[in-house]
Amino acid sequence: MKASPLSFTGFVWKNLKRRRLRTLLTLCGIGMAIGAFVGLVGFSRAFEQGWAKIYSSSGIDIAVIQQTFLNTSVDESVGAKLKALPVVAAATPMIYNVMDLTPDVNALVYGWKADSFEFQSLTMLAGQRFQDGKAEVMLGDLLAQDLKKQPGDSMEIQGTTFKVVGVYHGGSGLEAGAVIMPLDQLQQLSSMQGKVSTYHVRLRPAPRGLTADEYMKRAQAQIQAALPGLRAVPAAERANNNQFVRMAAASAWGTSLIALLIGILGIANTMAMSVFERTKEIGILRALGWKQNQVLMLIQLEALVLGVGGGLMGIALGWCALHVLALLPQTASIVSSSFPWVLSGEALVIAVLAGLIAGAVPAWRGAQLSPVEALRHD
């Protein structure tokens, strides 16, 4: 006679299969939550990487910013003091902002000096560089394509007419969708006369005998000593911590957490219903000698399978979303279509935790049932 072995996991699988529709809906719930996490956090990280690329491609070593949170502007006059420091090879001021260019299109707008070293990371595709003091702008190639503008055209930004003088290709996707204009023009538009958002600093080569880290720390200390009240932040750190990245990360995590909470409640509800409906069955298991921890493990494992299954579904969904973003012209330059391995690993860990957390209370309740009371349950 054929003997079909029944494993613990086999039992779990059969329990989940018994209520297919509910299992599927729960998987969809947690899948959507994890999908939102992968998609949103993936996009936010791509955005962060875009910023990092801007800093690395233009050779910025340090960003000098305000120490305070509310007042984030830096006096433009600190530039002279910065340039005088022995570790500083070049220092250039800049402002960035987000502005409406048309009712449908808003974009990052940078204010640079015409002689900024940051131009070195850009490739001019058409036209020329703007001149300080003139109402001129340069457009990233993606933005120029979106707005159907080319050198010689004009465009209105916040009530001022600017002449498009050049179209460039940037080192990062963020630059490809941005506007660059003279610093003084953006100061006027943003009512920041005499102020800048940050100073970007390029350091002189490190002296022999000093590691890159040691040199960076020494430079930071020198700058902060010379400019009290300001912070010298390494470029990589600044890329992760600027207000746009922080906002994108906060909204991605905020939305994902809400979605995850709903997913966790979905699993918890499924498991609580399952325990309630299977009260008699739990009583039978206890009557057949199952210990409390076996019942607890059975229910927890079911919740865990839901978490992992939903997590895998969500990773697939999130990756599809990122893939779509990678194909859209507006976001293609920011998002990569390659599989997000690290993020998927994190998503799976979150899904496993979500399953365990959601299953904990129903599992505990199921394990606490008295066998005889559970057997009497209808």
Partner: protein, 220 residues
Amino acid sequence: MTDFLEVRGLTKSYDDGKIEALRGVDVCIAAGEYVAIAGPSGSGKSTLLHLLGGLDCPTSGEVRFKSASLGSAIDLNTYRARSVGFVFQAFYLMATLRAIENVQVPMMGVERSSSKRAARAAKLLEEMGMEHRAEQYPNQLSAGERQRVAIARALANDPEILLADEPTGNLDSVNSAKIMEILIGIQQKRGMTLIMVTHAPEIACCAPRLISMRDGKVEA
């Protein structure tokens, strides 16, 4: 007669003492004995069976198995898993599991090897004459067949005591006779202690020993 299973001053009340299901029961059952417990509804026979099987704890008094007190000297989970097998009136098979899988359920915390569990389940089903129905789900089996699977499941961990709560209550007379034949056959072949709660006088009368209950007490 050695006191294999001993009940002393057993009481069980519910609802803060408003309902007294058992009112001081004293019973001694020997190893290998076949005992029927009979009595009208509400007489406390099922409550006594549950306490004998370690499914519940008494309000006062104690159940002793081989001279050790249940719940204190003997862990109830271990007792239920290794020393007792239950057969219920409503069979209580898991609907999602095949017959052979149902028989393996009690062994899951006792025998680590799933292939050994499966082999033992197959042997037990063969013993019950159910080998040809091993792969069927409970809803594909007749009532008599379900009870035979339930008996095989009760024997899964080779218990010393078989507790049966109205095992023929849901069966017709032909199947009832078959199930009784199987239970008595097992009891005699294995030398097990069989304690059976029954309403049926013809079954109660056939048992070598009958415990009659009324109003939570054992009748003289």
